[in-house]
């Protein structure tokens, strides 16, 4: 199970990385493995604002739909439109090409509240 050492993680198996003033968001390798083949992605729109933990969109696999949540409050500044046309990339490159949105954080402190890579690794091991 891949873990990105530069990211921090939510209980919902989502990751966030800091990139300059912005934060980048996606779902983890664990999440894509659980979902299996992904066939549809509905991200939020540029300009949408969300509170921490609010649902922002949907990802669907062959058999299931899963809500996406933003683990930090923020405003969406960029959406990965290429991913919308090729959602299967979430299965093959969840931490790289399959970033879902970039956002401006309302409160940068919320980034530290997320799980470190080591804590997330332990979390995934307990999740069975």
């Amino acid at each position: 199970m891949k873990i990105d050492k530069d990211a921090r993680y939510s209980n919902e198996h989502e990751w966030v990385r800091a990139e300059g003033d912005l934060y980048v968001y996606g779902i983890s390798d664990f999440a894509q493995d659980q979902l299996s083949d992904i066939v549809y992605l509905e991200p939020p729109e540029v300009g949408d604002s969300f509170g921490k933990g609010e649902p922002i969109g949907v990802v669907e696999s062959v058999k299931a739909a899963a809500d996406l949540y933003l683990p930090m409050g923020g405003e969406i500044v960029e959406v990965n439109e290429d991913l919308v046309d090729a959602p299967e990339v979430i299965n093959t490159d969840p931490f790289g090409e399959a970033w879902i949105v970039k956002f401006k954080a309302a409160d940068a402190g919320e980034f530290e509240d997320l799980m470190s890579p080591e804590d997330y690794k332990k979390f995934t091991e307990e999740e069975h």
Binding site: S36, D37, V39, Y40, E60, K63, A65, N91
Partner: protein, 375 residues
């Protein structure tokens, strides 16, 4: 409290080979293998897939009145079946609702020369119900009804390469076994097998029935024979997407006690000129045109339609989705739904409520993928 699930003889094989096990109709079955549902679907369309479908049921009807009895029970005229024919039919209630859909095989009775018997392959989810249904109607007919599900193993081997690979394993020349007929043979030295050139994928191929104790030998034997032909085991997720594309019905979705074969557009499986349970109701429905019918649709707005989602027209619900998904072969977001007949024309614009969103859709022609037997 966890459900106690039944396991097929191949359960451990599936687990050992990375099968993701899920409950289905009281059984623990592989929904997928590490290959994944999309690649498993693709393999069945391009080479061949092997499916463990042992959870399904098998019933034998023997005796001097077997033909008359089965003909009373099913929509299809089995008196027209030749020996070794395999035909699709339905059991209906008196009001035309569906008990189950099934395949009927007409086979030579090895115990009574010159007398045929009938072998019925029924859905896993209806196994017990069907056995009870058949037995409850047998009084007054000189027949013996036997549930042979436990001792019979069932596999499907489907795909364009499946017939030629299977042909290498049989003594019978399978090129001479036409679609919707069967052959009886011995394979892997000592396993008696019934091979039906039938399937639930829209590809050519076979459904195999043989004594359950040989399951591992047959399963591994077919995979080994096909190892250079990209033959893979296929789970239930891909089984669903494979049957969905040619618009084959799934009981509980396109067929139910509340959905008749006329509404589900399966009149090819109904022989109205003979007597059978439900015939009068179905004939009336056909002559008066059914109130609701099954249609196919494509999403115009983005989204995945799933069973149960409301179908809307002018903000009113007019029906619901019976099956919906991303179609891997066509790369389109499609579905089937039951809607009032007056809104069922191709090109009708409707809306699908996808959780909190309303997505536009259009009624399109079925099937979405032309099955092999029609090409």
């Amino acid at each position: 409290m966890s459900e106690v699930l039944k396991k097929t003889e191949l359960n451990q094989w599936h687990v050992d080979h990375g099968g993701r096990m899920v409950p289905f109709a009281g059984w623990e079955m592989p929904v997928q293998y590490p290959t994944g549902p999309l690649q498993e679907h693709k393999a069945a369309r391009q080479s061949a897939g092997l499916f463990d479908i042992d959870h399904m049921g098998q019933i034998e009807v023997r005796g001097p009145q077997a033909e008359a009895f089965v003909n009373w029970l099913v929509t299809y005229d089995v008196s027209k079946m030749k020996l070794l024919d395999a035909d699709y039919a339905l059991f209906c209630y008196a009001d035309g609702g569906v008990v189950d859909d099934l395949f009927v095989y007409r086979l030579p009775d090895p115990k009574v020369e010159g007398q045929d018997y009938f072998f019925l392959a029924v859905n896993a989810s209806n196994r017990d119900k069907d056995v009870a249904w058949v037995k409850s109607h047998a009084a007054g007919f000189n027949v013996q009804v036997k549930d042979i599900s436990d001792e019979t193993y069932m596999l499907a081997f489907q795909g364009p390469r499946a017939p030629e690979i299977m042909d290498r394993l049989t003594n019978v020349d399978l090129t001479k076994v036409a679609r919707f007929t069967a052959a009886q043979d011995i394979i892997f030295d000592d396993v008696p097998v019934l091979l039906g050139r039938t399937g639930y994928t829209g590809e050519d191929g076979f459904e195999l029935f043989f004594p359950a104790e040989h399951a591992l030998k047959i399963w591994e034997g077919i995979l080994k024979e096909g190892e250079n032909d990209n033959v893979v085991p296929v789970g239930l997720a891909a089984r669903d997407s494979l049957r969905f594309e040619p618009c084959m019905p799934l009981y509980g979705h396109e067929l139910s006690p509340n959905i008749s074969p006329v509404e589900a557009r399966l009149t090819f499986a109904i022989s109205f000129e003979k007597a059978f349970i439900g015939r009068d109701a179905l004939l009336k429905q056909k002559l008066e045109r059914p109130d609701k019918v099954l249609v196919g649709f494509e999403l115009v707005d983005r989204g995945v339609a799933r069973e149960g989602y409301p179908v809307m027209l002018n903000s009113q619900q007019i029906g619901s989705v019976t099956s919906g998904m991303f179609s891997p072969t066509t790369s389109r977001y499609l579905g089937m739904a039951l809607v009032p007949r007056q809104h069922a024309s191709i090109g009708t614009e409707v809306e699908i409520q996808i959780r909190k969103k309303i997505a536009r859709a259009e009624i399109i022609k079925r099937p979405f993928y032309i099955p092999a037997y029609r090409r």
